[in-house]
């Protein structure tokens, strides 16, 4: 029994972006339907729950102005799908996968269900290949590997857009060598203001990856419910590029906070029991269904690396969206307003940032032999800087011991010379590590307890 081609006139209820249909049988769960208003406009929609008597659908489009009696529902008899193929490269789509670049729809031969399937954990390949962003604070201390998912936690007014664009411009895979053209970018705007999205598109066009970029734009004034679909279209495209066409794909999802709020809106409209701050209890699993689509698969060439951007609501790291994102992703890059106030770009808070997959992706044969030691020593030293700064703010710098003052000096140089860099400056990992040593020499050699002796011999003396 299939409902493909079936058309039904009349709804029984409209509530926000939810529509209730009665008197149809055999509507499948997650089936793709079109809702057509008396204005003749077609709004894509998806079945959220279904019974013998009818179904509830979420509408990805404006529902204002719809009437119960005159709205028509057209059934497709299958889940929502998206065409994939090499034709997608270089294209710009809206949040529902329709072209936004005044070109005809891509002539893709294959259409895939957008929900994706979980990667079998026994077939995942553990990520180990270093992705160089050219940003010292990330490459040295929160190194990213291909197939990782690592969000940027930020607040309104911080330079996350500059940072994300710089990463998109500069990202390279040193181990790829000649196969560098096998690098692609998928940019996903989720509720972004128009001008921000335009800046990203410009930056992507200006970067060397022109022609290897796909953009999906759900803008701030686009329908909220659409946001739940956009990342799934984008990840379906990314999976094709990575696991069929062999690309290393970097996916930027911006902004996950808008996505989470869309999920809450739909959940509330359905009358579901909320968990924390009104977010549905399945927020974690839902976010996981996006983020876990990052990774590598044994025997397939490409990879999907995700950098979601999460704007912390009122700077609160414990808010459900950043909190649950942090539980799914493999680390986080945290931007900090205090550091930004000191005029440092990028304002990355080194101690609260973390890359879980770092230890297997760095060191000899991957980045450089001294990298693990340098990273460990910098963490330890920065922790002491924080302690000294805290103390100085209470008892004054003059009361500090000589050692504590040394760490204050070190901390300033660390922020200015290693963390700080220009927006157009791409540092190789070797340049980054050399800078780290230059800063570490501010400390007495005896304090470098986290560095192996041989490494110290090789790098400490200039």
């Amino acid at each position: 029994m299939t409902t493909a081609g079936l058309e039904r006139r009349g709804l029984t209820e409209l509530r926000g972006s939810l529509a209730f249909i009665e008197g149809v049988e055999g509507v499948a769960f997650h089936e793709f339907v079109d809702l057509v208003g008396s204005d003749g406009e077609t709004r894509p929609a998806r079945v959220l729950s279904t019974t013998e008597r009818g179904a509830i659908v979420e509408v990805f489009g404006v529902t204002d102005g719809l009437k119960l009696e005159t709205s028509r529902v057209r059934f497709h008899g299958r889940p929502m799908r998206f065409g994939v193929g090499p034709e997608l490269l270089g294209r710009v789509f809206d949040g529902l996968g329709r072209p936004r670049d005044s070109l005809p729809p891509p002539a893709c031969a294959e259409r895939r269900a957008i929900g994706g399937s979980p990667i079998n954990p026994t077939r995942r390949a553990y990520p180990r290949d270093f992705l160089e962003t050219g940003i010292s604070a990330i490459d040295a201390l929160d190194s990213i590997v291909l197939g990782q998912k690592i969000p940027i936690f930020t607040e309104s007014g911080l330079a996350h857009d500059e940072l994300a664009m710089q990463i998109l411009r500069q990202a390279r895979v040193p181990s790829l060598g000649d196969a560098a053209e096998k690098f692609a970018v998928v940019f996903v705007a989720l509720g972004l203001p128009r001008d921000t999205a335009a800046r990203y598109l410009d930056a992507l066009q200006a970067s060397g990856s022109r022609g290897r970029v796909i953009a999906f734009l759900n803008l701030a004034d686009h329908p909220t419910a659409e946001r739940l679909i956009t990342p799934r279209l984008a990840l379906t495209a990314a999976e094709y590029l990575a696991f069929d066409a062999g690309y290393h794909v970097l996916v930027v999802l911006h902004d996950i906070t808008n996505y989470g709020e869309a999920l809450r809106e739909i959940s509330a409209a359905r009358g579901e029991v909320p968990s924390r701050k009104g977010y549905p209890g399945y927020l974690y699993s839902d976010l996981a269904s996006l983020f876990e689509r990052a990774g590598r698969i044994t025997g397939r060439a490409g990879s999907i690396t995700q950098i979601p951007i999460v704007t912390l609501p009122s700077g609160d790291l414990s808010h459900p969206i950043p909190d649950l994102t942090g539980y799914v992703t493999e680390g986080q890059i945290v931007l900090d307003r205090d550091i930004a106030r000191r005029g440092i770009y990028p304002p990355i808070a080194v101690l609260s940032s973390l890359s879980r997959l770092m230890s297997d992706g760095i060191g000899e044969g991957r980045t450089r032999d001294d990298h693990p030691d340098v990273a460990k020593q910098l963490y330890a030293a920065v922790a002491r800087v924080e302690r000294a700064r805290g103390l100085a703010s209470i008892i004054g710098v003059d009361e500090l011991t000589e050692s504590e003052r040394t760490y204050l000096r070190f901390g300033d140089r660390f922020e200015r010379e290693l963390v700080g860099q220009r927006g157009d400056e791409a540092r190789t990992i070797a340049q980054t590590l050399d800078r780290a040593w230059s800063v570490l020499r501010e400390l007495p050699r005896a304090d470098l307890t986290r560095v192996r002796h041989a490494v110290l011999e090789k790098y400490f003396t200039p």
């Binding site: 990667i119 968990s275 414990s318 986080q332 805290g390």
Partner: protein, 546 residues
């Protein structure tokens, strides 16, 4: 089974309702739709059945058929579990990947245990002998690291009429025949949500040594005991769990990846076949089992995964082994419970969790224990549950309820983790109700001074943290010399004892005698109250002489 036993009437995510035309049993396994997705009956009302489906239900429609199996959801037990990777309802993920490729599809059903694998069976009894439940019929070497006794299943007894001769047998082959005509194979099944019977429950009498100094020395876990490990994201929960997996002195390790990251499971899958057990020189893969139901795999199967793991754990316990089960994480399991409960339309209690959250947690943790098995041997099942409290809030329902059912509580601290002090176990908010048996074990096996020295170290840590608070207000320079010495020693103690490098070949695992030696050295310095070469003291843990 080919005839439909009903029709689907309603689908909402993992929960499906159906009108049954044949009687169904509560907890019976049913197959949904034309793809025959696996589900379990969780509610019956007149002819309407409520079903929890263990696979993605996209595309299922009202009117689709429902098939009955007449069987409850049962876990397969027998040789072939060790080294395996299973999903939450015990589907073998490696075989699934061979059949389907890199992505998990739908509707593929496979037995957990390979029906074709041959095991070298050697009988342990003669025809004519009377056997009761738990009695050993024979043995196979399941892996080079572990002998697997083939035992009479619970509830079965009789006189052996025939027993298979030594030689290769498949898991479902008959190996014994009883006088009542009953055939016994190497394969048993057991319902996941039901405890396996034992002859007697015992109190824990020894620690489960983990090789992790801060845990073994300060917050020991008993063999057959329970521990909860709450920690916010980034506090090193995963690394600590993996460390326990590698080094804990258990015969069999079961790791349940319950709603967590795919790459973490992959890391274990990659690593276990390469890691050598320092005690037996055998590979860890030869005595470990992974249950992997990652965060993007069906939520309903995530709920089942804990019980799948614990049932396998009880089975090896019943074979006379010390089993350690690590569940990562209990929070994701509780969230699955919450999601299913919500879809069932149940009345929520705190934070949307169902009112039976507490009893469900108890049902899980209470399956740990040290026992006399049905065959009269000893076995134990120790359970460690990681908890991912939202926003690191230890007063949230899952942490709070779990705290009531565990005897050991390891709190991971975000500040320690930010300073890269791992394992980031907070010495102030962790606790352990050390059973007398554990103290006796340390006194007899390691040193009669253990209790006194450990208590002294606890006092020292408390003293140091009080002084540190003062120092934060007035500066170290304003403190009396004696207190500055305590701070210096506390720093050295953190680096040289509490902190343990999981990635260092020497430091990753520390034997009990070595733990005590280090502890005693630090406490001696404390008693003498004089500065020593602290960096030398710190290097001691790496194997250097003091």
């Amino acid at each position: 089974m080919s005839d439909a036993a009903g029709r689907i009437t309603e689908i909402s995510g993992w929960v499906v309702r159906a009108r049954a035309t044949k009687p169904l049993a509560l907890r019976e396994v049913v197959l949904i739709g034309n793809e025959r997705l696996i589900g379990e009956v969780v509610g019956l009302e007149r002819d309407e059945a409520t079903i929890q489906v263990y696979e993605e239900t996209e595309g299922v429609a009202p009117g689709d058929p429902l098939y009955a199996t007449g069987q409850p959801l049962a876990i397969e037990l027998g040789p072939g579990l060790l080294g395996g990777v299973f999903d939450g309802v015990q589907r073998p993920l490696r075989s699934l990947a061979d059949a389907e490729g890199g992505f998990i599809g739908r509707g593929t059903r496979m037995p957990a245990l390979d029906r074709d694998a041959l095991w070298d069976f050697s009988p342990a009894i003669e025809p004519g002998q009377n056997v009761r439940e738990g009695d050993v019929l024979g043995r196979v070497m399941e892996t080079p690291a572990l002998a697997h006794p083939i035992v009479v299943p619970p509830g079965v007894s009789g006189t052996v009429q025939w027993i298979a001769a030594a030689g290769p047998r498949r898991v479902a082959d008959r190996v014994a025949l009883l006088d009542d005509g009953r055939e016994l194979t190497m394969l048993q099944t057991w319902r996941a949500r039901v405890r396996r019977p034992v002859r007697e429950s015992l109190v824990p009498d020894a620690p489960l040594i983990t090789g992790q100094r801060v845990l073994d020395t300060f917050f020991p876990l008993a063999r057959g005991g329970t521990a909860a490990m709450p920690g916010g994201f980034g506090t090193g929960k995963t690394v600590t769990q993996h460390q326990l997996c590698r080094w804990a002195e258990a015969d069999v390790i079961i790791f349940v990846g319950c709603g967590e990251r795919g790459n973490e499971i992959t890391q274990l899958v990659d690593e276990l076949p390469r890691l050598v057990d320092p005690r037996t020189q055998r590979l860890l893969a030869e005595r470990s089992i992974l249950i992997a139901n990652t965060s993007n795999m069906p939520v309903s199967a995530r709920e089942a995964s804990l019980f799948t793991g614990v049932t396998i754990g009880e089975y090896y316990r019943d074979l006379g082994y010390d089993v350690l089960l690590l569940a990562d994480s209990i929070s994701r399991w509780a969230e699955a419970l919450r999601e299913i409960s919500g879809r069932l339309g149940e009345m929520p209690a705190e934070e949307g969790y169902p009112p039976y959250l507490s009893s469900a947690l108890a049902a899980f943790f209470e399956r740990a224990g040290r026992v006399v098995t049905l065959s009269g041997g000893h076995g134990s099942l120790t359970i460690i549950g990681a908890i991912s409290p939202p926003a690191g809030d230890l007063t949230e329902p899952v942490t709070r309820h779990a705290g009531r059912f565990v005897r050991t509580f390891w709190t991971l601290d975000r500040q320690l983790a930010a300073a890269r002090v791992f394992p980031a176990v907070s010495t102030r908010s962790s606790y352990s109700e050390v059973p007398a048996g554990v103290r006796t074990w340390w006194s007899e096996r390691v040193s009669p001074q253990w209790t006194a020295t450990r208590d002294e170290a606890m006092k020292f840590l408390e003293e140091a943290s009080l002084i540190e608070e003062t120092a934060r207000l007035v500066g170290v320079d304003s403190l009396p010399e004696r207190e500055r010495f305590v701070l210096r020693l506390a720093d050295a103690f953190q680096e040289g004892f509490l902190q343990q490098n999981a990635y260092d070949a020497v430091d990753a695992c520390c034997a009990p005698a070595r733990q005590f030696e280090l502890l005693e050295t630090f406490m001696r310095v404390r008693r003498e109250g004089k500065d020593v070469d602290f960096s030398a003291l710190q290097r001691m843990k790496m194997g250097a002489a003091p």
